[in-house]
């Protein structure tokens, strides 16, 4: 019964989305205020949007319930769950598969639309109606996808004895929350997209539009940042390869929307504050969402091979491609038709905060183009008959060409004034970060002469940027500094920290691949590690061989490390569970591999100085975003509250026309 109720709720939600689209679109065809029926229809859009969100959420709750109960008569549950699984992984199974994750997407999108309908009062009603209609249009595609090609509530007969289990690589608490985090980000960008479309249709591209859109972009960006950071850490400790970023198509698929969202966030800031960069902001709104669709497409369609290959199905790929073509093609056509009517807005000088933001926008867009090209390149060459794959040798230097100058501008930009400024005014503030950069450059060249160019520059610029990023706080009353300023400082500092970690990892890591007998001692970097024992252990749905390693740092007291080679029973698969030990100055990373014929164990050991800074930095970036978001929401409320009080006073003593 639960499955059938869920399906009915899903159909109802889809029907409401259709109603939302049609009533919104129809109400916009008439001229303002000339038609009462149209005005009434427009009034219907908000409540319908709220209801659609609620129904979608209930439908998702039904699916989650089925997974928690492990109802094996539902095909999706049988394929992806197992009665022996711990509760949290049963729940995570709901979205750990294609159908469930699409339902989650539609649900979050519905809820986001509902939230827009409930709280957004700053824009003209017409623009909101157009925005919600656009949002419904996007949602409809996903509902159609669910209902016609990937019904999550499909039954199976006969009922199997037990389920298939979730892919063991995915049975990890971090990963249980990784895809939903990214989805929240993607959906936030879909709201920004809808706002852009709504503003284009009703010709409302201005500061008010930017202010309404900004919290959504910011929210999406926070989730994407956390998602990418967590995903990178997951790949780092779960795959057991010791790397933290592989330029894998799926990783790139999450990075590209982030780059676009970062650019969008900054250009929306310029639009909100200075009414400049109108077309550019709209364009980025469309690009950011298309990148999240392209990302989903690349992951699902399987046209590129990747470590995430478990999600592949070409038929679904075509469906997403059609959706992509309709949405993005449609939006870009609308953009082409309308952009000529949008003026560029206010002008600014070459040395100004706007100009530095434009520079970084262009740099971010260029990096985005590089990543996109690199990701699709194997496909391009395949079209011409050869199969190639490009990796870090392409991405790292090409990305750095734009990323490193961007860091320099990031250090200067926040110190500049809007509209027009001189370098002379901010020169003094930059002496300290400049000196620090040079000092690190020289010190690194002296102490580690063999260092690569990129890690060297990365390290030096990271230190410079870290200092420069806190300068905007100098001379301010810290208590009265607005939260968005704090957010900017923390985010920029976070980026510097992350880049520092990346540079240190790539410059100073040491790796050992050894075969060792029980009782042997091996060294890696400053560590000496004794393989004390290898013993079998068992978990709820796996068994493992666990190595007991006694690791001691520069002859200090030993720390126990317990890496495992795990064998899962349902479905059968072996994974290696690395064991990590974190010190203030880095991380020791150990993996146990196969047993050789001579009775020696394959061990892989890494010492990675300052590597945790990468993820710490990522989290700081997200924290900065969260601070800014809270600040923006509070000031938005305040403004609305004041506007309402002014309106109330006017109502008390009406003066002429109320509008």
């Amino acid at each position: 019964m639960i499955a059938e109720i869920g399906l009915v709720l899903l159909w109802l939600a889809a029907a409401l989305a259709m109603l939302q689209l049609l009533s919104g679109a129809w109400s916009l065809t008439g001229k303002d205020g000339t038609d009462e029926l149209r005005a009434e229809t427009a009034g219907m859009v908000r409540p319908v949007a709220v209801m659609q969100g609620v129904l979608a959420a209930l439908s998702f709750a039904m699916l989650a319930w089925l997974f928690v109960r492990t109802d094996l008569s539902v095909l999706l549950v049988a394929l992806n769950s197992h009665s022996d699984k711990p509760f949290i992984f049963k729940l995570a199974g709901t979205w750990g598969n294609h159908e469930g994750s699409m339902l989650l997407w539609a649900t979050v999108m519905g809820l986001a639309g509902a939230l827009v309908a409930l709280v957004e009062r700053r824009l003209p009603e017409k623009t909101i109606v157009a925005t919600l209609a656009a949002q419904a249009f996007v949602s409809l595609g996903f509902y159609a996808f669910l209902l016609f090609s990937s019904n999550p509530f499909e039954r199976i007969s006969p009922v199997p004895a037990d389920g298939n289990g979730l892919n063991p690589l995915l049975q990890d608490i971090g990963l249980a929350f990784h895809p939903p985090t990214l989805y929240f980000g993607y959906v936030g960008l879909s709201v920004a997209f809808s706002f852009a479309v709504g503003a284009l249709i009703t010709r409302e591209v201005g500061p008010a539009f930017a202010r309404a859109m900004r919290p959504w972009v910011l929210g999406a960006w926070i989730f994407l940042t956390v998602g990418i950071t967590a995903g990178s850490y997951w790949a780092y400790y779960e795959l057991g390869w010791g790397g933290w970023w592989f330029w894998d198509p799926v990783e790139n698929a999450s990075l590209m929307p982030w780059l676009a969202a970062t650019a969008l966030l900054h250009s929306a800031g310029v639009l909100a504050a200075r009414d400049a960069l109108r077309t550019w902001t709209i364009m980025l709104g469309v690009v950011a969402f298309s990148m999240s669709m392209v990302g989903t497409f690349l992951v699902r369609s399987g046209i590129l091979t990747s470590v995430h290959a478990f999600a592949v199905d070409p038929e679904r790929g075509s469906f997403i491609l059609v959706l992509l073509a309709i949405y993005i093609g449609g939006a870009l056509t609308l953009f082409g038709l309308r952009a000529a009517t949008v003026t560029e807005g206010k002008q600014f000088a070459a040395v100004s905060r706007e100009a530095s933001l434009v520079f970084n926008n262009v740099a971010l867009t260029a990096i985005l183009a590089i990543v996109l090209l690199g990701t699709l390149y194997p496909l391009v060459t395949e079209a011409f008959g050869t199969r190639v794959s490009i990796g870090p040798p392409y991405f790292n230097p090409m990305g750095a060409v734009f990323a490193l100058p961007m860091m320099v501008v990031m250090a200067i930009g926040p110190l500049l004034r809007w509209r027009d400024d001189r370098f002379g005014r901010v020169g003094r503030a930059l002496i300290l970060p400049g000196l620090a950069t040079i000092a690190v450059l020289v010190a690194t060249l002296v102490l580690a002469p063999g260092i690569g160019v990129l890690p060297l520059l990365g390290l030096a610029l990271a230190v410079g940027l870290a200092i420069a990023s806190v300068i905007p706080l100098f001379g301010r009353n810290l208590r009265r500094t607005p939260l968005p300023i704090w957010g900017m400082v923390v985010s920029h500092l976070g980026l510097a920290v992350a880049v520092g970690g990346m540079a240190s990892e790539s410059a100073f890591s040491t790796e050992r691949l050894v075969a060792a007998q029980v009782g042997d001692t091996v060294t890696v970097g400053p560590w000496s590690i004794e393989l004390a024992a290898v013993e079998p252990v068992a978990g709820p749905n796996w068994t493992a061989l666990q190595a007991d390693m006694q690791a001691s740092y520069e002859g200090g007291a030993p720390t126990q490390m317990l890496p495992q080679s795990r064998t899962f029973t349902s479905p059968p698969q072996t994974t290696s569970e690395s064991a990590l030990h974190t010190r203030w100055n880095g991380q020791l990373y150990t993996v146990i591999g196969e047993l050789g014929e001579d009775g020696r164990w394959q061990l892989r050991l890494w010492w990675k100085p300052f590597v945790p800074l990468i993820w710490l930095g990522g989290l700081l970036v997200a924290l900065g975003g969260a601070l800014a978001l809270v600040g923006r929401i509070i000031s938005g409320w305040r403004r609305q509250y004041q506007a309402r009080r002014i309106a109330m006073r006017r109502e008390e003593r009406p003066v002429g026309d109320l509008r």
């Binding site: 394929l79 004895a161 077309t279 364009m283 592949v312 491609l321 870009l332 000529a340 699709l376 391009v380």
Partner: protein, 187 residues
């Protein structure tokens, strides 16, 4: 991209550029979808004899499977499956139908337990002539099969003639029967 700080209005050309690029992207990935040949893994063993691997008998009810050596009276199917595999449940009734049409089906259960296999056969029927157990995926490795279920058409001389990846569905029966017929002629 237009330089937003100089142009009052972006040029017409720049405005349509994104749509053009996007169309190009769509064309490229559509081509990628239409030519999925590279993602299909086909066994290089087609036209090769089955490897001689000794496998234990899986259940009391059915005899074991002799992979290579003995000459048979006609072509047969070699079905790679497992009791823990859900698509195999979908496939089971179709295998029954093939059996009813007189096809000899040998099963190899991958990484499985005899109790589980018996349970599976009780629930979903037993279309097999013989069933062997392959606890280390040795057969899979040897004949280049990438997953379960997979089915191979083997001719009387023990030569692999055709590989079917994924469960055999109702719609695949005609194809399988045709391939079995082909396999009656020596390669």
């Amino acid at each position: 991209m237009s330089a937003p700080d100089t142009a009052k209005r972006p040029s017409r050309w720049a405005i349509w550029l994104p749509l053009g690029l996007f169309a190009l992207l769509c064309a490229l990935v559509a081509w990628g979808l239409a030519n999925p040949g590279s993602t299909e893994v086909e066994s290089r063993m087609i036209g090769q004899p089955l490897p001689a691997i000794e496998l234990p008998q899986a259940v009391e009810e059915n005899p074991g499977v002799t992979l290579a050596g003995a000459r048979e009276s006609g072509p047969r199917l070699l079905n790679i499956w497992a009791s823990w595999c859900v698509p195999c449940i979908v496939e089971a009734p179709v295998l029954e139908e093939l059996k009813a049409r007189g096809v000899a089906i040998d099963g190899v259960a991958i990484r499985d337990k005899s109790e589980d296999i018996e349970m599976f056969l009780q629930r979903n029927g037993n279309p097999y002539r013989g069933i062997a157990r392959d606890d280390v995926s040795a057969v899979q490795m040897a004949i280049g099969s990438s997953g379960v279920p997979e089915t191979f058409v083997i001719d009387a001389d023990g030569i692999i003639r055709y590989q079917h990846i994924g469960p055999i569905m109702e719609r695949d029966i005609a194809q399988i029967m045709a391939r079995l017929k082909d396999a009656e002629e020596p390669a």
